[in-house]
Subunit: 204 residues, 2 copies
DNA sequence: TAACCTACCAAACACTTGTTAGGGAAGGAG
DNA sequence: CTCCTTCCCTAACAAGTGTTTGGTAGGTTA
């Protein structure tokens, strides 16, 4: 039989979808096997354990995400553009790894305790540093308001971006870029009407 | 032995905390019993099943939440004040029912399928109607911008409010009202600096 | 005193869980 | 053809799951 290396990836994708839909603990390996078209025991030819499937799903997602983030952060953009680039990159990753993002959101909190998933805590600290630095340099440069609690703002911005994974459906009426644009417009300019909105387009 | 009706409530609160921390499916009835100071089987003197504990936690939370929402919606406030009142009420409920909110967020999506938890879908439809009507009437009255997708805005606002339950800790440095104020300021006015922020406090 | 109720324990139940062991079918390589 | 690798199945395992049953300590009521 010829090797089909795509099979492993395919099983992992279906596992991610089931995990995202039902939750990791609520998902049985038999459900994954059913969805992937094989029997429960056969999963263990491809993977060590149920937990290592989860591990691989989350770690590959975070690795790819940080490649994008690092590119943005290394570009040396001005705070406003840096914020926009981070947000846009995030929505693109949600588009690409919707299931992984949903799993990350649901499970990461109680996984960070386990040593095996220590990289989750690392990633979270990295997020906080990247976002906080962007916001703080924006405050210093006069791009952002000075009267808002930066840490609160960070949490709001972070959460709103990532929970989008819970309702976003690829191929829907909004592209990731369009969602990012609307979101940035709301966060930067606010939803309240003011004069500038009556006369011209507020995008960037 | 004298009846202690507080015991049932106490066990339910303990269960809510464990559910919120570990997830419903990942929590065993023995863990709940340990945390509450009795044995697993003894839980079934107070409750029919593990599921009915979850049911009672979520339904009492939603009932109380909708009492507050209905009060706000019936007050006939102008859109901006109505939005502010809804947000503030939400943060107050997060303060009061942090565990229940966390559980609701994590589990509601895959519970809505079960007939027993049909009220979750009802509540969600109610949220959508309440928020959308507030936003739309604000657009119509000229309080809010007309160039934003109302449905997207609704999702952003809704999600950001409720995910706050994941990081909010009662007794911390921010009161629910303070968080609501900062959040409203961000959503309404945006984080970008503009002239009005240099001269006066933006909190209306 | 006796009957009764509340709140719990001890022990088991049937079932599901993740995981393993051994085997076998199908194709490629020699 | 024969060997070998890949991929999967069948069948079972031990541990853990939610739940039930019968019993009992101790306070309340009569």
């Amino acid at each position: 039989m010829r090797p089909a290396p795509g099979r492993r990836r395919q099983i992992l994708d279906t596992a991610a979808r089931v995990f995202a839909a039902q939750g990791y603990d609520a998902t049985t390996v038999r459900q994954i096997a059913d969805a992937a078209g094989l029997l429960a025991g056969s999963l263990y030819y491809h993977f060590d354990s149920k937990e290592s499937m989860l591990d691989e799903i989350l770690s590959t997602f975070l690795t790819e995400l940080w490649e994008r983030y690092d590119t943005v952060l290394a570009a040396g953009l001005r705070p406003r553009e840096s914020l926009a680039a981070l947000v846009t990159a995030s929505f693109r990753e949600i588009d690409r790894h919707r299931a992984a993002v949903a799993i990350y959101q649901k499970e990461s909190r109680h996984l960070t305790d386990q040593p095996r998933f220590g990289y989750l805590a690392d990633a979270q600290r990295g997020f906080e540093r990247a976002w906080l630095r962007t916001l703080e340099s924006g405050v210093a440069s006069g791009d952002f308001r000075t009267d808002l609690d930066v840490r609160l703002t960070y949490r709001f911005v972070r959460d709103t971006v990532w929970v989008a994974a819970s309702w976003y459906r690829p191929g829907g009426q909004h592209s990731p870029e369009e969602i990012a644009r609307q979101y940035l417009s709301m966060v930067l300019e606010g939803v309240a009407l003011r004069d500038s909105h009556r006369t011209h387009d507020p995008h960037d």
